[in-house]
Structures are given as C-alpha cells and as structure tokens.
C-alpha cells in the first residue's frame, strides 16, 4: 500500500510553509490560555474545593467552541481543492494518470482535513487538564474527539465534492459555507424552534420528532449529547452519520460525472454542456 500521492504532496507542501505550524501553535496557545482562565474561575484560586460540575461545564464549553472553529475552518482548506486544480489547469494532466477519480477525491479530502485533524489532536492534552479537574471521564473525551474528527471529514468531503461539481472556486466556496452554516446554525435553530412549538402545543408529536431530527444533524447538539449535556441520547450521532453519508453519496454522482463523463456515456444521458470546459 502506497499513500495517496495527492495527500503526500499537499501535506508536504502545507507543512513546509511557516503558516501551518503558526496556525497550530497560535490555536493551541489560545486554547491553553482559555482553559486556564476558565478553570481558574472555577477553582477561584483555591484547590481544596474543586467543583466537578463546573469543570464539566468548562469541558462542554471548550469542546463546543472548538467544534465551531474547526467546522468553519474546514471549508477554507477544502472548498477550492478540485476547482483550484481546474482553474490552474492541472486537472487535465491528473486525469490522464492512472489515479482514478476516487483517488483524486480521496486525496483531496484527506489532504484538506489533515491540518484540522492535527489541530484537534494537539488539543487533547488541554482536555486532559480538564479531565484532571474532574470535568470529564476519558471515554467522554475520546467520544468528543472522535466525533470532531468525523465532522471534519464529513464537512471536508462535502466541500471537496462541491468544488468538483462547481466549476469555479467562488461558487464552491459559497456552497461550502452555505452547507456549514446550514449544519451549524440552521439545523440547530430549526430543532430549537420546533421544540418550542412542541412545548406550546404538546399534542403535535410530529414537531417533537422533527425537532429531534434537525437537532441530530447539528454537530454542536450531537456533541453536547455525547457529553450528556442535553437530554438527547448519545446514539443520535448515528442519525448524523447516516444523513450525511446519504448527502455525500448523492453529491458523488455529479462529481464523478464532472471528472469522468465517459463513465456515464453508456447511460445515454447526453451531457448538455461540453466535456472540455470541465477539465
């Protein structure tokens, strides 16, 4: 097994510039300072009476913050991945190599999420600090970490697919941030709104049902559920995964068509545009 050449190339490229290490260091420092500050607030300068419930709040707050930052940062790395190759006219050559369209997409997803994965992993010691103060059990920390990684990969995949479908990076960026905004804000708000409706009118069970569904699509809510900070069952991460897996599969079809229209030629769906402009 040989590692995906695109991943190797891009990771190497990114880590060579000073930017990546700086981003990681600054972010880590920020997290450390914030954690110390919040924990200090918690213990109020004395160490003989630590309140675990308050530490738990610190943990929830920190991880929600991290989730938000990471979710909005992911499109910055992935939304221009394939459209950028197209704009710089390097895609044609890539498509004449034995690297398959799946290989191209996979390489792009992995390379654009690599830095963020690193970002999440390096904050693990910070979480351990919280854990030291009784804020969380290790399983919880691992579950949160795992879910954050899953969310990064999901968002990166959707953005890479958008950048394959949209011919221009600008459009792909618009779609990508639209999707992240949808996941982070709209689905949460819908869940909350329907929940409120249900509370006003408890007979309408279907509003409760839909409220739970939308909540399950919101990474922040799912993460909170994994930490037991909200009433929902932790298993809603499965709904999350299933839903976005379906979204990804649907987006995969036009993406593959963009990369290899030949594969669809047998289906007699005559492409309306011309092939050349996509490559």
């Amino acid at each position: 097994m040989r590692i995906n050449p695109l991943l190797a190339k891009e990771f190497h490229q990114r880590m060579r510039t000073a930017r990546a290490p700086i981003v990681i260091t600054v972010y880590l420092l920020g997290m450390v300072v914030l954690t110390f500050f919040m924990l200090y607030e918690n213990v109020q300068g004395q160490l003989y009476l630590v309140q675990p419930s308050k530490s738990q709040q610190v943990f929830v707050l920190l991880s929600l913050l991290q989730m938000t930052v990471v979710a909005f940062l992911t499109p910055a790395f992935s939304a221009g991945s394939v459209s950028g190759e197209r704009e710089r006219r390097t895609l044609t050559v890539l498509l004449t190599t034995p690297l398959s369209p799946f290989g191209v997409l996979l390489g792009k997803v992995l390379s654009s999420s690599a830095l963020l994965v690193l970002l999440v992993v390096v904050t693990l010691p910070v979480y351990s600090l919280v854990f030291l103060f009784g804020g969380a059990v290790p399983q919880e920390v691992l579950a949160v970490l795992g879910f954050q990684l899953l969310t990064i990969v999901v968002i990166a995949t959707i953005c890479v697919l958008f950048s394959t479908i949209a011919l221009r990076s600008t459009w792909s960026t618009v779609f990508s941030y639209g999707t992240v905004g949808m996941m982070m804000v709209v689905f949460g708000a819908l869940g909350y709104g329907l929940k409120t409706l249900y509370q006003q009118n408890p007979i309408e069970l279907f509003t409760l049902h839909w409220s739970q569904f939308f909540y399950a699509l919101n990474p922040l809510y799912v993460e909170a559920a994994l930490q037991g900070a909200v009433s929902a069952k932790p298993a809603i991460w499965l709904t999350f995964t299933e839903f976005y897996a379906v979204v990804i599969l649907i987006l995969l079809i036009p993406s593959l068509w963009r990369l290899r229209p030949q594969w669809f030629a047998r289906l007699s769906v005559r492409p309306s545009g011309s092939e050349k402009q996509y490559q």
Binding site: T97, P98, Q262
Partner: protein, 310 residues
C-alpha cells in the same frame, strides 16, 4: 502502436473529427498539422482518454481507448496544449509526485528524474521552484514529466506553442532527443515547418479530416520540386491566363486583384523560359519572383489538384 479506425467525434451537430484513419508504427514521430480549430486537440484528447469517441476505435499499444482506458493511460505521456504546473513544488518534487501517480518504483525515481532533466536541459534547475521557471523551461519540464513512467507513446499537443524562437529551437533539440530514444511520438502543431526536423511522417488535418499523410522526405522533396511564383504585370484581357495555361509545368493559377499566384513544377531554366514567353507574348512584367513556399498550403492545394494520388 497508434491505430485509429474511422474515429469520429461530434459536438452536437458539429463534426470535430471525421472518420480518422491513422496508423503510426513503433518508434515513429508523427506530426499532426492543421490550422486553429482543425481538430488537433480533439483528436489527441480522444487518444489520451480524456474524451470519448462518438464512434470508431482508437488503439494505443494494442489497448482500445474507450474499452481499456487504464492501460492506455499507463502507456502514454500526454502533454495538453495549455497546462498548469504545481508551482509550490521544486522541479524534483514535481517529477516525484507524478512518478507516484504512476506508481513508479521509488528506488528508480531519483535516477530517472535526473536522467530526464539532463535530456531536457534542466539539470541545474532541479531544486528550483516550478514557478521560478520560464515558460519554455516549464514546457520542457512537462516533457520530462510525460516520460517519468517510461511510456511507450508520447502525445504532445503543440509543445512549442507560445515560445520565442530561441526556446523553440531548444524544444526542437529536446524532441529530436526523444526521437533518438525510440519513443512513438504524436505531435500536433499548426506550423508544418516546425516539424520538418523532428517528424518522420506528417498528416495534415483540415476541418476534422485527414487530407494528406506523407513521409517527411516526400513532403520536402515536393516542396523543393514545387514553387509558388508571384507575377505582376499588365496584359490584354485573357492573354496572361492563356499564356500561363500553355505551360505544362504550371499546375495552378490563382488570380489575385493585383497579380497572379502560380504553382509551378518545373526547373529553374523552365521557369526562365516561362518569363521569356510571357514577355514575348506582350505582357509587361513588373514582378516575377519566387515566394517562400508554405509547405502546408502547397500540400493542401496539391491534395485538391490530384485528389488522393498518394
């Protein structure tokens, strides 16, 4: 090595390539010549599996392009007419990346890259970033890139386009070098003269159809045997035309507003006799000169004059 059978490509109702039959044997350098929009890029992109033929077949190294595209991709190095490079990489890293895409054995990558850089005169630049290379150097790097997986066939779409005369010369040297490597090469160009010292065989493409295929020697022989003569002068109506058509070496007369363009297939002595006859016939000749022969134009005309005799 490269074989096409009734290869067609249509864009909607537009026929971009019409019934192309081509056979290029191993080790041959074939030049595909045609003006802008003749269909060169279309033909080459079908051969390099980027687009599907509407009908017909194309075989590279024995593999059919639409049935076995993977094997075709492994057997070709393709250089598109307009290409980009990954400019955040050094020359060496650039070659290594493509070697990885082709799954070239890691142990031979470095040696092969150095060998190829030597061939394309970029050895000193091997640790330079690609964006610091000039266009001409990038074009030569692209050729090295095409060769990284040691393909049997090279498909180069206008490798010398956009280059100044000096870089063209360098590119020509590189291409001659490749010919000596024994690769089968298909090069497109819109200038035939450019291929004269590189190609073994030339095919002329016009509006999607291959009009002529000929060995380069035949082509050059004909271009020395045939001349275009430009005649300007004053003559009573019809006299000029009559005198010209009496000469058996005149193949074609093309009347222009201010003179006549004559396609001539005689010796220099015969040419002088023609001038003498014109003067004796009462034509006041003000200009009688041989024009630089545009080989491609000549061939297009010849193919029109003697349809399919070669």
């Amino acid at each position: 090595m490269i074989l096409t059978q009734n290869l067609c490509k249509k864009y909607g109702r537009m026929v971009a390539i019409n019934e192309m039959n081509l056979s290029i044997s191993t080790g041959t350098v074939f030049g595909l010549v045609g003006e802008n929009g003749a269909g060169k890029t279309t033909a080459l992109s079908m051969l390099s599996t980027l687009s599907m033929p509407t009908s017909g077949y194309a075989y590279i190294n024995g593999y059919e392009v639409s049935r076995d595209p993977r094997s075709v991709r492994q057997s070709i190095g393709y250089m598109p007419d307009s290409f980009g490079v990954y400019d955040e990489l050094t020359v060496m890293e650039y070659l290594r990346f493509f070697a990885d895409c082709y799954r070239v054995d890691r142990r031979i990558v470095k040696r092969r890259a150095e060998e190829l850089l030597e061939r394309v005169n970029l050895t000193e630049k091997r640790h330079t970033y690609v964006n610091a290379l000039s266009r001409g150097m990038q074009q030569r790097l692209e050729i090295a890139r095409c060769l990284m997986h040691d393909p049997a066939v090279l498909i180069l779409d206008e490798p010398a386009s956009g280059l100044d005369p000096k870089s063209r010369l360098e590119m020509r040297g590189v291409l001659q070098n490749l010919r000596d490597m024994g690769k089968t090469i298909l090069i497109s160009s819109h200038i035939l003269n450019e291929l004269a010292e590189v190609a073994d065989e030339v095919g002329i493409l016009r509006k999607g159809s291959l009009v002529v295929i000929a060995a380069i020697q035949v082509m050059l022989q004909h271009s020395s045997a045939y001349r275009t003569i430009w005649i300007q002068g004053f003559a009573p109506h019809g006299v000029m035309k009559r005198l010209l058509s009496q000469d058996q070496h005149v193949l074609e007369v093309c009347e222009q507003p201010d003179g006549w363009e004559v396609l001539y297939a005689g010796t220099l002595a015969q040419q002088a006799e023609l001038l003498q006859r014109l003067v004796q016939g009462g034509v006041v000749v003000s200009q009688f000169r041989e024009q630089p022969t545009d080989i491609e134009q000549l061939f297009l005309r010849l193919s029109a004059v003697q349809e399919g005799t070669w």
